[in-house]
C-alpha cells in the first residue's frame, strides 16, 4: 500500500506539468537582449476609437494652459512638414509665443510628462478633444 506521502507526491507530480505549460513567457521570462522580436502587430490609426474617457481634474487646474498647448502642438505637428529640424524648433517657439507661454516653462512641463501619469492622461484627453473628436 502506498504511503500517505506518496499519494500527495503523486498529486503534485500530476499537477506540475499543467503548471509548467501555462506559464506566461512575456511576464515571467524576460528575453535575452538579442532574442528575435515577437510576432508582428498591426499598428492602428483608427482615430474613431476613444483614446481616454475623462481627464483627471486636479492637474487641469494647475497646468491647463500647457496641457492644452501640448495637445494643440502635437495635433499641429502631425499636419505640417518642415524643411529642417531647426524649423520645427522655430515653429514651436512661435506657437509658444502666440499662446503666451515661455519656452523654459514648457521644457519643465514636458520633462514632467514622462513621470506623471495624471499629466499624460490630461494631455491625451485634450488631444482627443481638439484633434481627434473635433
Amino acid at each position: 500500500m502506498r504511503s500517505l506521502r506518496n499519494r500527495v507526491a503523486i498529486g503534485i507530480l500530476v499537477a506540475l506539468p499543467f503548471a509548467a505549460c501555462s506559464s506566461d513567457p512575456a511576464t515571467t521570462t524576460p528575453a535575452a537582449e538579442d532574442s528575435p522580436p515577437s510576432t508582428d502587430l498591426a499598428l492602428t490609426d483608427d482615430s474613431d476609437l476613444l483614446l481616454i474617457d475623462e481627464p483627471p481634474a486636479t492637474t487641469l487646474a494647475v497646468d491647463g494652459p500647457l496641457i492644452r498647448f501640448e495637445a494643440m502642438w502635437v495635433c499641429e505637428l502631425q499636419r505640417r512638414t518642415f524643411t529642417t529640424p531647426d524649423a520645427v524648433d522655430q515653429a514651436l517657439e512661435e506657437a509658444l509665443d502666440e499662446a503666451g507661454l515661455k519656452q523654459a516653462d514648457y521644457e519643465t512641463f514636458r520633462a514632467r510628462v514622462n513621470v506623471e501619469q495624471e499629466l499624460r492622461d490630461s494631455i491625451l484627453f485634450a488631444y482627443q478633444e481638439t484633434c481627434v473628436l473635433r
Binding site: M1, A15, P37, L77, V88, N114
Partner: protein, 273 residues
C-alpha cells in the same frame, strides 16, 4: 489489525487531498492563462497619424509621426521604407538609423509623442506610392514590433492650384447612425499661406456643412506650405440614392496677404453603399 482501517481512511484522504491539490493548481493556472490573454497587449502603441497624405514631387521635408503609448514602453524606435522610385527616408543625426520620440525613447502609459523623419522625393517618384512605417519597442523585457502603411499621393511641383485636394472619392453608407457619412476632404497647402478656406459642393444636394453654407478647415481657416487639413461634409445617403455620384467641390480662399478671393473646383466621387 486495528491499524488497517485507519490506514485505509488516511490513504483515501491522501488521495482526495492530492486530487484537490491538482484541481486547485489547474484552476489557478487556467485563470492565469485567461487573464494573461486579456492583459497581454504587448504594449502596442497606437499610430495616430492619417493613413494617407500628400507630397510635392522633388521635395525633401521632415514629417512628424505621432504615437500614443497604451502602456509604459521602452526604447521606442521607428523606421520607414518605401520601394517607390526616388523616395528616400533619413533620420536625425542623433540616431541615424531610426527615429526616436522627441522627448526620449521611453514612453509612459497614455503618453503622446512624435517621431521625425525626413522624406525626400524626386521627379521620378510615381503619383501614388506607399511609405511603410515600422515600429519596435520593449515591453516587460521583451522586444515587439509592428508596422503600418501610409498611402502617399505625389503632387506636381508645377501645379497652379495652391490648395491641393488629396481626396477625390469616398464612400458613405445608408445604414448606421450617420456618423460614417461625414467625409473628410483633405487639402495640402502649397502657398506660403492660404487663408479663409471655404469648402462646399455645387448644386442643390443633400449635404450638411460645419458652417451654414460651407465647411471650414478643421484646425483653423488657414494653411501654411506643406500643411494638411480637412474640411468635413455630411452626405445624406438616403436622399442621394444608391450608386456612385460625380459631384463638384468648390473651394474659396485667399492667398498670402492678398484680399482677392480665389475660387476653384475639383471632382469628388461619392459612392452610396
Amino acid at each position: 489489525m486495528r491499524a488497517q482501517p485507519t490506514t485505509g481512511v488516511a490513504s483515501s484522504l491522501a488521495s482526495w487531498l492530492g486530487l484537490a491539490f491538482c484541481l486547485t493548481i489547474l484552476l489557478i493556472h487556467s485563470t492565469t492563462l485567461r487573464s494573461g490573454a486579456e492583459t497581454e497587449t504587448k504594449g502596442s502603441p497606437r499610430f495616430l497619424a492619417a493613413s494617407s497624405t500628400g507630397w510635392v514631387e522633388g521635395e525633401s521635408r521632415w514629417v512628424s509621426l505621432p504615437w500614443l503609448a497604451t502602456e509604459g514602453i521602452q526604447d521606442f524606435r521607428v523606421t520607414a521604407l518605401s520601394t517607390a522610385p526616388g523616395v528616400r527616408v533619413t533620420y536625425q543625426q542623433e540616431t541615424l538609423d531610426h527615429a526616436a520620440p522627441q522627448f526620449g525613447p521611453d514612453l509612459g502609459a497614455n503618453e503622446v509623442d512624435v517621431t521625425m523623419l525626413q522624406v525626400s522625393t524626386t521627379t521620378a517618384t510615381p503619383e501614388s506610392w506607399e511609405l511603410e512605417v515600422s515600429a519596435s519597442w520593449e515591453y516587460r523585457g521583451r522586444r515587439h514590433e509592428g508596422a503600418t502603411v501610409i498611402k502617399v499621393t505625389t503632387i506636381s511641383a508645377v501645379t497652379e492650384n495652391p490648395l491641393q485636394p488629396l481626396i477625390d472619392d469616398a464612400t458613405v453608407t445608408a445604414s448606421g447612425d450617420g456618423t460614417d457619412n461625414w467625409v473628410d476632404l483633405a487639402y495640402l497647402g502649397l502657398a506660403d499661406l492660404t487663408t479663409n478656406v471655404e469648402v462646399s459642393v455645387e448644386g442643390d444636394l443633400p449635404v450638411q456643412y460645419t458652417s451654414k453654407l460651407f465647411s471650414s478647415l478643421d484646425h483653423g481657416d488657414e494653411l501654411v506650405r506643406g500643411e494638411i487639413d480637412s474640411a468635413r461634409i455630411w452626405f445624406d445617403p438616403n436622399r442621394l440614392g444608391a450608386g456612385s455620384h460625380e459631384l463638384t467641390v468648390t473651394l474659396q480662399y485667399t492667398i498670402d496677404a492678398s484680399t482677392a478671393v480665389q475660387v476653384v473646383s475639383h471632382p469628388l466621387l461619392i459612392t452610396v453603399e
